[in-house]
């Protein structure tokens, strides 16, 4: 098996990196679009109760639909290829982003808002200097969850013709050649792990002030 994997990389490394590139491209595009949608909407949700309940309901519904089903459900409406896969991944990434953004802003104690106001901050300064920094660990956690979800689901996007590392897995399954499956699966797992560790590090970094609890 190991020999076959090495052989694959010797012969097809160009193809492999092409798949990785496709996978990452799809992932980053989906994450970027979902963040543009979810972060402002989540902030709005923390201010307006109606928006929050709508977002939470929407997120709940999305959670019970399996990712694969969602990909196929979209085919009749938008066909196959990169764009439909992107849309499906964006939709999948929205719930964790929305819920954690709302949570993050709601966790900011009203005390800090009152003190900030009393010290002479206007709305924008309050948001930039107090609310966003304090909500940031939660938001980053949401981005982490969304990213992991996208990386994993992008594998399935191969099914509707978006390419990526899933191609290797499905090729392997089709040819009954486990080499491809292992390479594809391990690569996806490695990307997910990398994303998770990266964000965990980042979250710990922005929460330096919390660690200080132990060092009085």
């Amino acid at each position: 098996m190991l020999a076959q994997i090495i052989q694959y990389f010797q012969l097809n490394s160009g193809q492999y990196w092409h798949y990785v590139g496709q996978h990452l491209g799809l992932t980053i595009a989906a994450l970027a679009i979902s963040m543009v949608i979810a972060l402002p909407l989540g902030y709005l949700g923390s201010q307006i109760k109606f928006v929050a309940s709508f977002c939470v309901a929407f997120a709940q519904v999305l959670r019970i639909i399996p990712s694969l089903a969602l990909l196929f459900l979209l085919i009749p409406f938008i066909g196959t290829g990169f764009v439909p896969a992107l849309i499906a991944l964006v939709v999948l990434a929205l719930p964790p982003l929305l819920i954690n953004t709302i949570l993050g802003f709601n966790e900011v104690s009203p005390l800090y808002q009152e003190v900030g106001t009393a010290l002479g901050m206007d709305q924008q300064q309050l948001r930039r200097q107090i609310e966003i920094p304090l909500a940031l660990p939660y938001i980053l956690n949401g981005i982490k969850l969304a990213l992991v979800e996208i990386i994993a689901s992008a594998t399935l996007a191969t099914y509707i013709g978006a390419g990526g590392l899933g191609t290797l897995i499905f090729t392997g399954l089709g040819l009954y050649d486990m080499t491809y499956v292992v390479i594809g699966a391990l690569s996806v797992a490695f990307l997910s792990l990398l994303a998770m560790l990266g964000f965990d590090f980042l979250i710990r970094k922005v929460r330096t002030y919390d660690r200080s609890n132990y060092s009085i």
């Binding site: 005390l111 003190v115 009393a118 010290l119 002479g120 300064q125 002030y209």
Partner: protein
């Protein structure tokens, strides 16, 4: 007698159906240290929060230096009005130095001036700048945190400082220490008007040059501590003083 710097004229405040302040009028002179003494629900905190416009009066007028507060730019006003609260409210994601620098930064002071001011203020509240400037609030004890809270309120050398039961959550020894320091700070700075809300009668009498006793949204008596002790104006004030006497008696009994 100097002119009134804070003036309430028939101020009324209601929250929904709840009439907290029916009709409040008083004047505070520039440079005065006034304590507002009252039980919970007396409207003392509400009164304080209307001075920096956190809450608006339902009726009546509030004048700051002769100008109606509605005509002032509240954001600008607040930057020159220190504010210290019981829960301290230091921003947890900022270091001590950054917390003190919040208002100077809003006013766009240059960094050198900010650094110098932070150091000066930390020394004023008896914290060693080298040791504390770069710590986070969670690394400090409650008393140390409130020292920083006081330093932050004084950062831009404001003409007014509002205190909302700042020492209410501290242990007795720390509280006494900070009371002494706050009194000394007020004496060392000229022309600073301090408004200090408390429910601790000893604190009110010790700190205030004048004490405003409030009960159910009304002023029971507004006079010097000596005047209040010698001539309590209403049964409520008498009763309040009675609690202290009762305590003293308790002490005496234990001593014998």
């Amino acid at each position: 007698m100097t002119e009134a710097t804070i003036q309430f004229k028939h101020v009324q405040k209601r929250f929904g159906d709840n009439l907290v302040l029916p009709d409040l009028s008083f004047q505070i002179k520039r440079g005065e240290f006034v304590t507002i003494l009252g039980t919970s629900g007396s409207g003392k905190t509400t009164t304080l929060k209307m001075i920096n416009g956190l809450w608006q009066p339902s009726a009546g007028e509030i004048l700051i230096d002769g100008k109606n507060i509605n005509q002032l730019d509240l954001v600008k006003l607040r930057r020159h009005m220190g504010y210290v609260v019981q829960q301290i409210g230091l921003f947890p994601h900022m270091t001590i130095a950054q917390n003190i620098a919040v208002v100077p930064k809003l006013l766009q002071w240059d960094q050198a001036r900010i650094n110098a001011r932070v150091e000066e203020l930390l020394k004023l509240v008896q914290l060693d700048p080298n040791e504390y400037a770069n710590r986070y609030p969670t690394q400090l004890s409650g008393g140390q945190q409130q020292r920083v809270g006081v330093a932050r309120a004084l950062a831009t050398n404001p003409s007014y400082v509002l205190f909302d039961e700042p020492f209410g959550a501290l242990d007795a020894l720390t509280r006494e220490e900070l009371q002494g320091e706050i009194k000394q700070i007020h004496e060392s700075l000229t022309d600073k008007t301090f408004m200090f809300v408390t429910h601790d009668i000893n604190e009110a009498l010790f700190l205030g040059q004048r004490v405003m006793v409030m009960h159910q949204g009304r002023i029971e008596q507004f006079a010097s501590p000596a005047e209040i002790v010698r001539h309590p104006a209403t049964p409520f004030v008498k009763k309040l003083l009675g609690t202290v006497r009762q305590n003293q008696e308790l002490w005496r009994e234990q001593d014998e």
